[in-house]
Symmetry: C2
Subunit: 239 residues, 2 copies
């Protein structure tokens, strides 16, 4: 039986990648007189990947990478005003209100008495903590974990620390490599809810062929899925 | 008896603030043809304080604040090349080797069998984790805690989580407000080891008038202090 549910946060409980996407579009606009948009996009992408070892994931690193891209793509001709606008775009992202996915509060409220809920999110601790505060969702969760990576070892740490048996654990999130595969490997359930944009750092992964893998269109379908899994397991146990 | 020792990291186990100090001096040099050095210093200081709510503590936020200062102090006349140099200064800080304080390894090695050692450091988790890795000191510690603030509530969390009784706990660090006062308030021991530079975010605090407060010139004196405290307590208990 599933007794524990883990939730990814960015692009699962609330919108996130759309801010990066929109800010990047504005950067391409600002730099349009220096270089074609596709070139800016490609350069920013390369710069972000090259910087991730030093910057990690998050808005501050993204802002620094945008500035670096702007300097390079303009051959040093970027103006102070343009740099300032990029800086302000980064600050606006950090200060943006959190926009929840549809029905998030209803779904969490319906689950919180029947399951133990853990928020498991990756990234800059300050950014993530600020977003959890702004989301107003903190009280729904029994535990909040900000991890640096979402690999098997990180999930194992979280499960061990809270004495969670992986076979009773279901993780839901928008990333197959980060939210689904490691949990399947540990013996838990992995549920994928796709988001319309994918982060630049996200690796591609095919759908796993696994009987504890599921896909939902939206978080609203989670209570139904849990009921269905319960029925299936009761049915299997009854034979 | 003291059985648990907490160590601050930046400017206690290794040099840190000197990197900020030297980088700031270089920024003042770069901007010298736009504004006098004192003006740059004051502007950077104000910018850092204004941004801390969004940026938190750390090198990425510092780099963004340097760029913002450069744009403003130059009235938008900063060049792409200058912005690039500031960016590279930030990256060099992130990539800098960790320079240990004198005798750190010897002191930790002499303590690790007699005490449980906990590293308690504040700031960006990725920056701090990278520094701990680069320092090669990780294995001396029974536990490593990266906290977002160093206030009474954060220390209480750490002590509670590890079942540490505050009266057996001694914390050592370069900051009276962050490393000494909260631990004294919880009933522990607070040892101050001053560093030559003080971070811009650091509040000022007078020396506490408290019988569990001590000051050392360097970390090398810690084993001697612990022996002295032990003798005093045995003497008091023997009466």
């Amino acid at each position: 039986m599933i007794t524990e549910i883990g939730f990814d946060a960015d692009d699962t409980l609330w919108h996130c990648e759309n801010h990066f996407f929109e800010t990047q579009a504005r950067l391409e606009e600002i730099l349009e007189h220096h270089a074609p948009r596709e070139e800016v996009e490609a350069k920013l992408h390369d710069t972000e990947l090259a910087n991730v070892r030093l910057f990690g994931y998050g808005i501050k690193g993204f802002t620094l990478s945008m500035i670096e891209t702007a300097v390079q793509i303009s051959g040093g001709k970027i103006t102070g005003e343009e740099v300032h606008e990029i800086l302000m775009m980064g600050k606006a992202m950090l200060d943006a209100p959190v926009e929840l996915m549809p029905n998030v509060r209803t779904v969490l409220a319906s689950l919180q008495d029947k399951y133990r809920l853990t928020l498991i999110t990756k990234g800059d601790v300050l950014d993530q903590t600020n977003k959890i505060d702004k989301s107003g969702l903190g009280d729904f969760f029994d535990r909040i974990e900000v991890v640096q990576q979402k690999e098997v070892t990180n999930y194992r740490d979280v499960l061990d620390r809270h004495g969670i048996d992986a076979q009773h654990f279901l993780m839901i999130g928008n990333s197959i490599p980060s939210d689904v595969l490691p949990v399947l490997e540990l013996g838990g359930w992995g549920v994928h809810v796709p988001y319309r944009h994918t982060a630049v750092f996200e690796r591609h992964a095919d759908d796993p062929a696994h009987d504890r893998f599921r896909r939902l269109e939206s978080l609203s379908e989670l209570p139904g899925l849990l009921a269905e899994i319960r029925r299936e397991m009761e049915h299997a146990a009854g034979r």
